[in-house]
């Protein structure tokens, strides 16, 4: 019964909430005013918007020493997770069967394990840093902690189900994934998508004035 629920209706709900929720959030940004600039620009805002999205991945040298842990642990987590999500064999198979209808090359098992180790290390380091640093202690909201813990739980249940030998563990992992998908559009996790318009707006503003973000 649990299997029918998790593999069936709950998955459908999660899928709908995830995609519709994200689309709604994006529309909510675009429909609002405040995107026009009447001042005569020095250079193109559009190319600056694109470049800002690319340059945003590289921290400025002036503050790099102070934000080392953010950058290193941050990339460990995100790149590791990217590899896990999109190149781990069980995931590619799942995406092929349930979402896209086509698959792609998977990474070897040892790369899978390495990505998981790196990703976990990054996530745990980031969360501990968030708890200990006085700045993030002050500004962190409940949603930041919930998001960190939820992502950790999803990854942990995935790890538990790695041997692919138990239906119960697989269902548990899928269930936590569905929870994450439902939580995602209404949480800080939306930064995964919203960073693009944010960097674009700011990049365009500065770019029109001739300053590279």
């Amino acid at each position: 019964m649990l299997e029918q629920l998790v593999d069936g209706i709950l998955w459908d709900i999660a899928l709908v909430v995830f995609f519709v929720g994200i689309a709604w959030r994006i529309v909510d940004v675009i429909r609002r005013p405040g995107r026009n600039d009447l001042a005569e620009p020095r250079s193109s805002g559009i190319s600056a918007a694109i470049m800002a999205n690319i340059h945003g991945f590289f921290p400025r040298r002036e503050i790099s020493p102070q934000i080392r842990i953010h950058v290193i642990a941050g990339y460990m987590f995100h790149l590791g997770l990217l590899m896990l999500l999109f190149f781990a064999a069980p995931h590619v198979k799942f995406i092929e069967e349930h979402i896209t209808g086509f698959g792609w090359t998977v990474m070897p098992y040892w790369v899978f394990v390495l990505s998981a180790i790196i990703s976990f290390a990054g996530l745990i380091l980031l969360w501990i840093h968030r708890l200990l640093n006085p700045v993030s202690q002050l500004i962190s909201k409940r949603g930041d902690h919930v998001a960190s813990i939820l992502v950790f739980v999803v990854m942990l249940t995935g790890c538990m189900a790695l041997a692919e030998s138990s239906t119960g563990l697989r269902l548990f992992h899928r269930f936590t994934v569905e929870l994450l998908m439902i939580y995602f559009p209404f949480s800080a996790l939306m930064h995964a998508i919203m960073f693009v318009p944010s960097r674009a707006y700011t990049g365009a503003l500065f770019g029109r004035r001739g300053v590279k973000l």
Binding site: I117, A121, M160, A161, L162, L169
Partner: protein, 367 residues
């Protein structure tokens, strides 16, 4: 009004316990669906060697099988590690060691130390700061040191729980969950244990780099040991780290690296390790783990309940000056330039201590 709940360390304590609780729930959750479906079968009774009155007709065969006079190695068409050994004698030795020595003695060790700590607490109580908090703070651990510590602690804790489930589950959990239910739990724990294992090795190395400087032993540490670390009353001098802390540091280094290396040998069994190497690694792994877990009870006790004002050092990064004077007087002198006078075995409080603010080695606050 700042209540315990509203202070920074109070909130962090809450967050810490909350995270422990949630992780524990996560580990316990796989047990639930299968606990419901589990067969109500208890644990399989162990095969006990029965004493027989009659001589065993197969005694010669069995002696050869047991290879008591040495391992018999042949050759086979399949050429790989240990392919020439038909019957693995070391496996039996290992199984017996595991069941007859490792499991029970490990349990005694853990229970014994836990019991001793509880007894100690009931008799001695919490060690309070003599004279109470002074209100003046001294920076003790940097943000990097604290991050590394909690990272190591979290990973160690996950590995300890999953490892103990793997070692003791057969005896403790099968009666509860049934064999099928336990197999799911064990599979889950094995995967988690294997994933976090390499992380622990990296964590230990990070701790080595960040903490080794003040952890070398000197003559003063002998005096500290002689006086029982002040745990039974009286004052002992110490630098930044006392002899007990240094011992714990080196134990973690030695056994932690032993755990890491033996763990890697066990997990990545694709580099030609034979069964004997694997069995030996497991033995080292188990012994190191049980020792470390047992002594960690002491570390956790002293760092939380046992000694007032200690947890602050690892959560906020700073400690009360009175705590420093009582437990690490030479370090206090280094940090403040004041000297600590000791009268009749107890620390006396010197000078006015009512100001706030943090004394730190450089300029600015501890980072």
């Amino acid at each position: 009004m700042a209540t315990e709940k509203n202070t920074k360390s109070g909130r962090m304590r809450k967050a810490f316990y909350f995270s422990i609780l949630s992780l524990f729930i996560v580990v316990a959750l796989p047990l639930i669906p299968y606990a419901i479906d589990a067969q109500a079968v208890g644990g399989n009774p162990d095969n006990v060697d029965k004493v027989v009155a009659l001589p065993n007709p197969a005694i010669n065969l069995w002696n050869n099988v047991r290879q008591r006079d040495g391992v018999i190695q042949g050759s086979s068409q399949v050429k790989s590690v240990d392919s020439g050994i038909l019957i693995n004698k070391t496996g039996e030795d290992w199984r017996r060691f595991r069941l007859e020595k490792l499991v029970p003695y490990g349990a005694y060790l853990m229970a014994g130390i836990l019991g001793a700590i509880i007894l100690f607490y009931l008799v001695r109580g919490k060690t309070l700061i003599p004279g109470g908090h002074s209100g003046k703070r001294i920076a003790r651990f940097t943000l990097n040191q604290r991050t590394a510590h909690w990272f190591t602690a979290g990973v160690f804790w996950l590995l300890a729980i999953t490892g103990l489930i793997l070692l003791y589950g057969k005896f403790v959990l099968i009666p509860l969950l049934g064999a099928e239910g336990f197999s799911v739990t064990a599979a889950a724990c094995k995967e988690m244990h294997n994933l976090f294992g390499p992380l622990f090795l990296l964590a230990v190395l990070a701790m080595l780099i960040l903490y080794v400087k003040d952890n070398f032993f000197n003559l003063e540490d002998l005096k500290w040991f002689a006086k029982g670390g002040g745990m039974f009353g009286g004052h002992v001098s110490a630098g930044r780290f006392n002899a007990g802390e240094k011992t714990w540091f080196w134990l973690v280094m030695i056994f932690g690296i032993a755990l890491g290396i033996s763990g890697l040998i066990l997990e990545f069994a694709i580099f030609g390790q034979g069964r004997e190497v694997m069995a030996l690694s497991h033995v080292f792994h188990g012994i190191s783990a049980l020792i470390l877990i047992s002594i960690s009870f002491g570390h956790i006790y002293l760092g939380t309940v046992g000694v007032e004002g200690t947890l602050d050092s690892m959560t906020t990064g700073s400690v009360d000056a009175a705590w420093a004077k009582a437990h690490h007087d030479h370090w206090y002198e280094e940090m403040t330039g004041e000297s600590v006078a000791i009268e009749s075995g107890e620390t006396s409080m010197q000078g006015g201590m009512a100001e706030g603010g943090v004394t730190s080695p450089g300029t600015g606050t501890a980072t």
